[in-house]
């Protein structure tokens, strides 16, 4: 699997995403000003502080030249994973429903949290079992997931909520404990926790690998077949 990781001015966890992607295939860097996706099978929009989080987190990055290509790639069914700031960018770009608001505590929070897998199928959680718990760190100031309640009802009914914070583990006040959602088609997924920081046994939990392994399995079955 060839994975493109987007780098905006201010991206921080792009190198961590590159390292995680290297464990499941070939990672390449996609510079924000370039429009060549280099034939990748999947795109990761990584964590960090693109454009200093100016105006709103992700608000400026969504207009970067590379994002036009990412949007088209997504329309064509390509896999797009947005992590933390990446999730914010995808929501601002309307590739995912909802928005991320400041944490209820109004502070940056770093914490290893437990997530519950809501759906153990699809390109991003196919390698997980429904109901399984994953231990993955969060680190953000603006991670409170919001959508109007009719929208939330619709997302839940349509199975677009893939990950929730386990009871007692919601660090930011996200509505309905939502940690990650996908689009209607299921090929674009955004989450606030950082799976790329849970891949190395030296660092503790390796539960984040499930998400990258799910993506690889999906690409191998559907794209390379």
């Amino acid at each position: 699997m060839k994975t493109g990781i987007v780098r905006f001015p201010g991206s921080c966890d792009d190198i961590d995403a590159l390292a995680a992607a290297a464990r499941v295939g070939e990672p390449v860097l996609l510079w924000h000003a370039d429009t060549d996706l280099q034939g990748v099978d999947a795109v990761i929009v990584p964590g960090g502080f693109s454009y200093g989080d100016y105006l709103r987190a992700g608000a400026i990055a969504r207009f970067a030249p590379v994002m036009t290509e990412v949007e088209e790639f997504a329309r064509g069914g390509g896999l797009v994973l947005g992590i933390c700031n990446g999730f914010q960018v995808l929501c601002e770009a309307n590739l995912l429903p909802g928005a991320l608001l400041p944490n209820t505590s109004l502070k940056f929070i770093f914490r290893q949290v437990e997530l519950e897998v809501v759906r153990g199928d699809g390109p991003f959680t196919g390698a997980c079992a429904s109901g399984e718990r994953l231990s993955i760190p969060v680190k953000h100031t603006t991670g409170r997931y919001y959508a109007p309640s009719e929208e939330l009802d619709r997302l839940e009914a349509a199975g677009q909520v893939l990950l929730r914070y386990a009871p007692g583990h919601n660090p930011n006040g996200s509505l309905r404990d939502i940690a990650g959602v996908c689009n209607e088609r299921g090929n674009v997924f955004g989450l606030m926790p950082h799976p790329e920081h849970a891949v190395d046994p030296l660092g503790g939990s390796t539960d984040g690998m499930r998400i990258f392994e799910s993506m690889r399995a999906h690409v191998e079955q559907h794209v390379l077949a």
Binding site: P9, G10, C12, A19, G48, Y51, R111, P137, D200, L202
Partner: protein, 719 residues
């Protein structure tokens, strides 16, 4: 500061120069300095830039070591860590700005030390912070400073993608009027990317890159850092620098790319005294002169005067020198990273620092006068006749049971869990962190070849107040002990000396004694000082702060997978108490809670035995014989046992050697370790791991959950 006010003689005093210093300037120049020249000299000759009261004393510190690649004098020190890699590191203070505006003061403190590290070509890979405030329970101002400083550190470090992996915070009445914010940065570089700041090559081009130049911090260096804070410091607020981590992130990537492409002759960051200091230092180190044209500098504010441009402390700027053939490429790289850059001058033969503005020479000073001719003052030390420091409020009266005492210590602000603080920091970005805060006594970061570096920062002002020589030595022993607990061998040390007014004999005495103590401990452990910082005049009308030397050590261990942890790990493991551990209550946390002022003689330290002790612990952590290792610090052995239980979420049963004070302290030379009984044979075994209670025979019996709750509650209401 316009020339229309008063006469020339008084102006120099307004800028912080003494009459004697002004006379020296006249003598050195052979004429009176112009406005711009006077502004430049007042900053370069300030305590903050000139180190007038400390430079002679700092020569005492030992600087030689087999692994040293860059010693004191450069933007950061550097040591060889093997595999062709170097680790650069330094600690610096930002005390006075933080007292005025704690968020920005702390943020720009982090920004400044980051720049010092990438100025030598190293990618910043970790930040640590050493903070001091007044008592949070007694002072709303101290709670405010704590909360804002922590927010500022988090804001800057998190945004720029450098993990904050460790630190320390102490609360003492002594710091009420003078908080301390010391920021340490560690960076990584291949040997051949390390660069020095000496400007070279007459004819080469000087380029200023980074943020636009505005009126930030005008006069900051001399106005804030060379004088004690008095009434009316609100008026100094306009002088505070505002930091922008996003700009610095781009600047950092840009500079590292310029170095990877070998496009630069030298690199220097702009810190205190801005362009004046950066350019003078570059020229001085290279033995060359510089000409700078202020009209080439991109300004943020219209109509800035020449002196303002020269002393502006606008953040996120660097100065570099490149050969004329490569200037185009340099500017190209800057443009790609969206970093404003302009050529502002050139390197010249000779000793002259010339500044032009609209075609007119507004300053022409010999570099040596700016950098080397600043007067150096001898300290006139004399021990204080009386106790300098007030006794703290009494919290315990001595009638408490050992169990109540332990819970009170765990709850106390200096010992309680720092989780409310470190949860505001990202400790894992860049994916190198192998030991996070609370997992071990030092942070551990993995290197590409699977080995790792460890880093810790330490300093106990209360103990140094009791006995500056022994207290300062203890800071070194404790920091080295923290490294031993993860299995790391110390390679180099950086220090920040935070003291009161050195012109007062008792403060001078504290400074001289502390430097002697630091030096002796470094020599005994074989750890060279590779750089550091001095912050003086931390004094209020009520008196000086506790003398607070802060020490940061970087070490190395061969296998990241074998890095030590502090928590008890396994039911049935034996617990060992390693020493020679001869604690006393003098200067201890318990003596503070009992309302005793910091006076008394600290226990003697046998440096040679400490060195052997650390080696032994290091070896057994590396081999896996010890499953946990934790040094005994504040609160003594009872507190250390509690901390090991809490971290491991498991109980222990222990019996202390007869006569050992459960709360006495002797930093750096007492350890609680655990492991299989066979591995601890030959050591003093005091108990075993297991259950869900901490039972110390004849002393106390407490549920680990109660210990945990007491420790967690300490700081949570303040931050």
């Amino acid at each position: 500061m316009s020339s229309s006010t008063s006469s020339l003689e008084e102006r120099h005093r307004q800028l912080g120069l003494t009459d004697g210093e002004y006379a020296r300037i006249l003598e050195r120049l052979g004429r009176a300095p112009g406005d711009v020249e006077l502004a430049m000299l007042s900053l370069m000759w300030s305590e903050h830039c000139g180190y007038k009261h400390s430079r002679r004393l700092l020569r005492r510190l030992p600087k030689e070591g087999a692994h040293v690649l860059m010693g004191p004098g450069e933007n950061a020190g550097a040591v060889d860590v093997g595999g062709g890699l170097a680790v650069a590191f330094k600690v610096e203070s930002h005390n006075h700005p933080s007292a005025v505006e704690p968020f920005q003061g702390a943020a720009t403190g982090v920004g400044g030390i980051l720049r010092d590290v990438f100025a030598v070509g190293a990618r910043p890979i970790a930040v640590l912070d050493s903070l001091r405030f007044g008592e949070p329970s007694a002072s709303e101002r101290s709670r405010y400073l704590l909360e804002r400083a922590v927010a500022g550190i988090g804001h800057y470090g998190n945004s720029i993608g450098v993990p904050t992996v460790g630190g320390e915070i102490y609360f003492e009445g002594s710091y009420e009027q003078n908080c301390l914010v010391n920021a340490m940065c560690v960076g990584l570089a291949p040997h051949d990317r390390l660069i020095r700041s000496a400007a070279a090559g007459p004819g080469n081009v000087v380029i200023l890159l980074g943020a636009l130049t505005g009126r930030d911090g005008i006069g900051g260096a001399s106005v804030l850092a060379s004088a004690e804070l008095g009434e009316g410091d609100e008026a100094k607020r306009p002088s505070v620098q505002i930091g922008d981590p996003f700009t610095e992130k781009k600047l950092l990537e840009c500079c590292l790319e310029l170095l990877d492409c070998e496009l630069l002759v030298s690199l220097q960051d702009l810190g205190a005294a801005g362009l004046t200091s950066a350019a003078s230092e570059m020229a001085s180190k290279g033995g060359v002169g510089l000409t700078v044209d202020l009209c080439q500098i991109s300004l943020r504010e219209p109509g800035m005067e020449p002196f303002e441009i020269m002393v502006s402390e606008s953040q996120e700027r660097m100065l570099c020198v490149a050969t004329p053939e490569r200037v185009g490429e340099v500017l190209g790289v800057c443009e790609r990273w969206e970093v404003p850059a302009t050529t502002i001058g050139c390197v010249t033969e000779g000793d002259s620092f010339q500044v032009l503005h609209r075609g007119v020479v507004v300053a022409d000073l010999p570099v040596s006068v700016l950098v080397d001719d600043c007067p150096l003052y001898d300290l006139e030390p004399s021990p204080p006749s009386d106790g300098l420091y007030e006794a703290p409020a009494r919290v315990l009266d001595g009638s408490e049971s050992p169990a109540e005492t332990l819970l009170a210590l765990l709850r106390s602000a200096n010992i309680a869990s720092r989780r409310p603080v470190f949860e505001q920091y990202d400790p894992i970005v860049q994916s190198r962190t192998v030991r996070r805060p609370d997992e071990a006594d030092a942070a551990v970061l993995v290197l590409p070849d699977g080995s790792a570096i460890a880093v810790a920062i330490d300093g106990n002002g209360r103990r140094v107040a009791c006995d500056p020589r022994r207290g300062a030595a203890e800071a070194v022993y404790e920091c080295a002990a923290n490294l031993a607990c993860v299995g790391a061998e110390p390679l180099g040390l950086t220090n920040c000396l935070n003291f009161g007014n050195p012109e007062k004999p008792h403060v001078a005495w504290q400074l001289v004694e502390a430097v002697e103590g630091l030096s002796q401990a470094c020599e005994a452990l074989g750890v060279p000082v590779v750089g550091g910082n001095v912050s003086l005049y931390n004094e209020a009308p009520s008196g000086p702060i506790f003398p607070t030397p802060v020490v940061g050590i970087v070490g190395k261990l061969p296998d990241a997978g074998r890095a030590g942890r502090l928590g008890f790990a396994r039911e049935g493991d034996a617990i060992g108490l390693l020493g020679p551990f001869e604690p006393s209550l003098v200067g201890s946390e318990l003596s503070k809670l009992r309302g005793h002022a910091p006076v008394g003689e600290l226990p003697v330290a046998d440096a040679a035995r400490i060195r052997i002790l650390h080696q032994g612990i290091r070896a057994r952590v590396r081999s896996g014989s010890f499953r946990s290792a934790h040094d005994i610090a504040e609160g003594g052995v009872a507190t250390a046992l509690a901390e090991c239980c809490i971290a491991g979420d498991i109980g222990a049963t222990a019996r202390l050697p007869r006569g050992l004070d459960p709360f006495g302290e002797a930093p750096g030379r007492g350890f609680i370790v655990s492991g299989p009984a066979e591995a601890l044979a030959g050591f003093v075994m005091i108990g075993s791991v297991g259950g869900d209670r901490l039972v110390i025979d004849g002393l106390l019996d407490l549920a680990v959950s109660d210990l945990h709750d007491a420790r967690e509650s300490g700081l949570s209401e303040w931050v």
